[in-house]
């Protein structure tokens, strides 16, 4: 870690209290910070400072959060973590669909925040494929193994016999460990852009997948539900020393 450049985090937040908390926490964790309290200034800062990660509060006074994401995404793949309120699943889904990498729900603790930042820095959009998929074409997390060459999923070394559609869902999630995939993006990826936006099919598939890979489907270890938004597959939490 010694010769590594300090990573820079841009914090876009209009509330001074939360800004103060975010800045202190992020700096204490060893990152450098730049802050903006409105959208227009933030866009300037992104161009001039090239941050490694952006924390964006969706409720800004001058601009809609998803507009910021859209305009940032036109020219950079810098990971964006959206900060949003609990009861606005739709806004979260819109933010993710317009290019945000992850979201964190207010109120949150520092451990959760830093974990999200680390995940975002590790699996930023620049990594088109999950780097943890080894030469053998497998992604391992816990006792789950997704085999991209043999197109099968094993738990504790045993094939769980997913149907082709079920495999495609798990395979898609496995390419983005730790990241939320919205219902919309999964449906679009699997059944094409003109697919009917029927979350029900996806939910039934997911219930069936859980019965095959989880010991206790109500207490999942591998695929987590983000209520009203989408699904997230577990990532390997041990820090990889790079």
């Amino acid at each position: 870690m010694s010769n590594k450049v300090v990573q820079k985090i841009l914090i876009i937040e209009d509330d001074p209290g939360i800004l103060n908390y975010l800045k202190t926490t992020v700096e204490a964790a060893g990152y450098e910070t730049v802050t903006a309290t409105d959208g227009n200034f933030a866009l300037h800062l992104i161009a001039s400072h090239c941050p490694d990660c952006i924390l964006l509060d969706l409720g800004l006074p001058d601009m809609d959060g998803s507009d910021i994401i859209t305009s940032v995404r036109k020219w950079t793949l810098t990971p964006i973590i959206v900060i949003s309120a609990r009861d606005s699943e739709e806004n979260k889904a819109i933010a993710l669909d317009s290019g945000a990498d992850d979201y964190i729900t207010k109120p949150f603790g520092s451990i959760e925040l830093l974990a999200r930042i680390r995940t975002a820095l590790r699996h930023s959009l620049t990594a088109a494929e999950n780097k943890e998929i080894g030469i053998d074409g497998c992604y391992h997390v816990g006792e789950l193994e997704i085999d991209y060459k043999k197109l099968r999923v094993c738990v504790r070394g045993k094939d769980v016999h997913l149907t082709p559609n079920e495999f495609r869902i798990v395979a898609l999630l496995g390419k983005h460990p730790g990241r939320v995939m919205t219902y919309k993006s999964i449906l679009r990826e699997l059944w094409g852009p003109s697919a009917p936006m029927d979350n029900k099919i996806l939910r039934v598939h997911m219930a069936s997948i859980r019965r095959k890979i989880e010991d206790d489907p109500t207490n999942p270890q591998y695929i987590f539900t983000e209520v009203g938004v989408g699904y997230r597959i577990a990532e390997n939490t041990q820090e990889t020393d790079d």
């Binding site: 979350n199 029900k200 039934v204 109500t218 207490n219 999942p220 987590f224 539900t225 983000e226």
Partner: protein, 359 residues
Amino acid sequence: MSITDRFRALLQKNPILKNVLVLLLTLGATIGLAVLLSSVNNDYNQFAMAVFIMAVVIVARWTDGYIWGIVAALIGTFCVNYFFTYPYWTFNISYTGYPLTFAVMLVVSILISTLTTRIKNQERLRFDIEREKMYSNLLRAIAHDLRTPLTAIIGASSTIQEQELSTADLIRLAEGIRKDAEWLVRVTENLLSVTRVSNHGMIKKEDEVLEEIIGSAIMKYHRLPDSLPVDSDTLRDIILVPMDAILIEQVLINLFDNVNAHAEGASKIWIHLRKENGMVFISVEDDGCGIPASLLPHILDGTYMSKRNRSDDRRSMGIGLSVCKSIIEAHGGQLFAGKSRHGGAAFEFSLPCKEDMYV
């Protein structure tokens, strides 16, 4: 969504369309009725007038505001004159007495229409006042209970700022602040749920797989300090339950939280599921001290809080259970309290569910 549901939603969005529809349907039916009466009875114009006045009352009752009733009165008067009085199929007010008759009918219709509207408005006003009263009571209770943790937070943080403290003391104070703040978060989340139920009147339901919601609720509950292990059944079949997932998740978290707050000696939480007659029953149970028999009848009707003697204990506020109740009732289900097979308390709620899906 069925066609009738969609139609109802459309009418709710366009009140003018609804009013026009009521007006046209009522007048159409009335003309039909008047024609029918005229074919059985030759001396029918009195009938026709009575029938049209009835139509005005109906229109005034089911539309918004005065204007529609008055429009109905005008059209009705015109119809009676045109179709049902001699000379037929003409608009005629030259016969002796006719102008007076029609003027009287018009005035009577307008009066009835305005009276009906006024009564309707008064009824709504009374309902509003009633609701307002309920809200202000709730607000007062909440404001009162928010003050205690806020006082503790301000006290602790100002002590940290103003005094030299040992690290151990600092950590202890920070811990207190965090606990109080977390409690405040749970209260505000419940309040948000209340507005979500009462704002829309109709909650937004989507078909959800039950175990996903249970799983997510358990995960969130386990992030809280002092959470207990939760053991949940899984139904063999995948069943879809139409619900507002955020609200049902809140119900489950509240019920788990309730175990922590009130079930002394509880070591574990169980969730038992069963399906019966198109309803799914979700039961949250523990092995704690149980609900005293004397409290059981009152625990869900809100009078329970006032009966507790530990009035200073902020955790006794228990808006949690009443929030659960209103959420579940808004979904067309019911909340029950009772004894658990594991020795403690059991809170069971029902939700209407769909037929099994294929796997």
